[in-house]
Symmetry: C2
Subunit: 256 residues, 2 copies
Amino acid sequence: MKKPLILVTNDDGITAPGIRKLIEIMHEIGEVYVIAPDSPQSGMGHAITINNTLHIEEMKLKGGAEKEWACSGTPVDCVKIAIDKILPRRPDLCVSGINHGSNSSINVIYSGTMSAAVEAGIENIPSIGFSLSDFSYHADFHAAKEHIKQIAMQVLENGLPEGTVLNVNIPKASKSELKGIRVCRQARAKWNEEFEQREDPRGRTYYWLTGRFENLDKGDDTDEWALENNYISVVPVQFDLTAYNSLQVLKSWDLE
Amino acid sequence: MKKPLILVTNDDGITAPGIRKLIEIMHEIGEVYVIAPDSPQSGMGHAITINNTLHIEEMKLKGGAEKEWACSGTPVDCVKIAIDKILPRRPDLCVSGINHGSNSSINVIYSGTMSAAVEAGIENIPSIGFSLSDFSYHADFHAAKEHIKQIAMQVLENGLPEGTVLNVNIPKASKSELKGIRVCRQARAKWNEEFEQREDPRGRTYYWLTGRFENLDKGDDTDEWALENNYISVVPVQFDLTAYNSLQVLKSWDLE
């Protein structure tokens, strides 16, 4: 049987330990092409580059994939240009990550890693974003290796329901602490912003975005609950954003 | 009765004709604060600025709002810093736009204008994104004035269902051609990328992102249908991205 073609991308940049680990794992499953940002692109959400040029550069990194390219654009740009200009055929799977830091709950919406996965989903490619709840450069990306492989292989085998991609988050835990996998919904949560005000050497005020994460959801069927309890969370994510439950409410207004 | 406090933002930048028109309309309803990008931020999606500093600058533009600030960041940054650092209290309404170009169907996901509206929604502020299907600088932002006012006032009066913001798209049509408002779902659609390859003066290859929009959805209950038939489309948009219909499918896999 022909090896599946796997597109690997991320938002932390092509040299980040998380993507190098993901490439290593995908090597055991299929033929791997990497098209990832040439610099960190965290928090880029679903941004695309329309007011600037894009560059891609072929690379050969140690322990790397069959084929690798660094791209000057956002994670979503990487997926778009991979499909249009680089891949020899439509990939059988797109995996994004492993992100340095959680993309659970509302973070899915800010995440370049997840937006890349969603972009592949829009292109009807089975797609998964992987994130680890540990920002450290030296985070343990190995503990969840077998689970990552298992999820990827099941997606290759079963496909995914139309209009759905997977948001997989891995708790910061050792292999023995990991309790397994939970299929969950996205927890209701938000960031409470606390911009930090500073002065530059010329006396001009500037700000750094900082914030405090607030989980507003006590349900035990959420991704936040799973992570807190050392489970890997798997949330099916959709890109039809229609709030179907609200359609009737709006139709009852004096609008139409 | 106290005038409602209205936050106005966009992604085309604080001087764009679309936001100037929206400010003018909101003036007839409430007290207007503007915090908008100091430069065009189209296609920024839900990007936030975490690897760079942010600046804000108070401005006084002709026919402007009570208070206006230009911000160096993305549309989502504008909403975050407005809430944390600028507004005297929680706003009663956030409006984003009027965007130069449509944000119907899948465009909602790439749109800085809609992401700003979604960010306000995450903050539990009733919120609306307005877009006009006309990229021209000289587009007619006036034809839909009464409809924009009507929608904003109904949101102020009724509030919005929890976790829902509105994506309002206006067809390119004269006042007499406009047939009214339709509450719709997001059409299933995608962009087919066609990157344009060029060479810079030093012989290096670069690319421009271009594409062809493809509507995959023939339903007459979609935003694309409404716009094609000269209706203003109103789509309730949610930021809980959980694909609830897919939860059972995934639970039947050999994962948990």
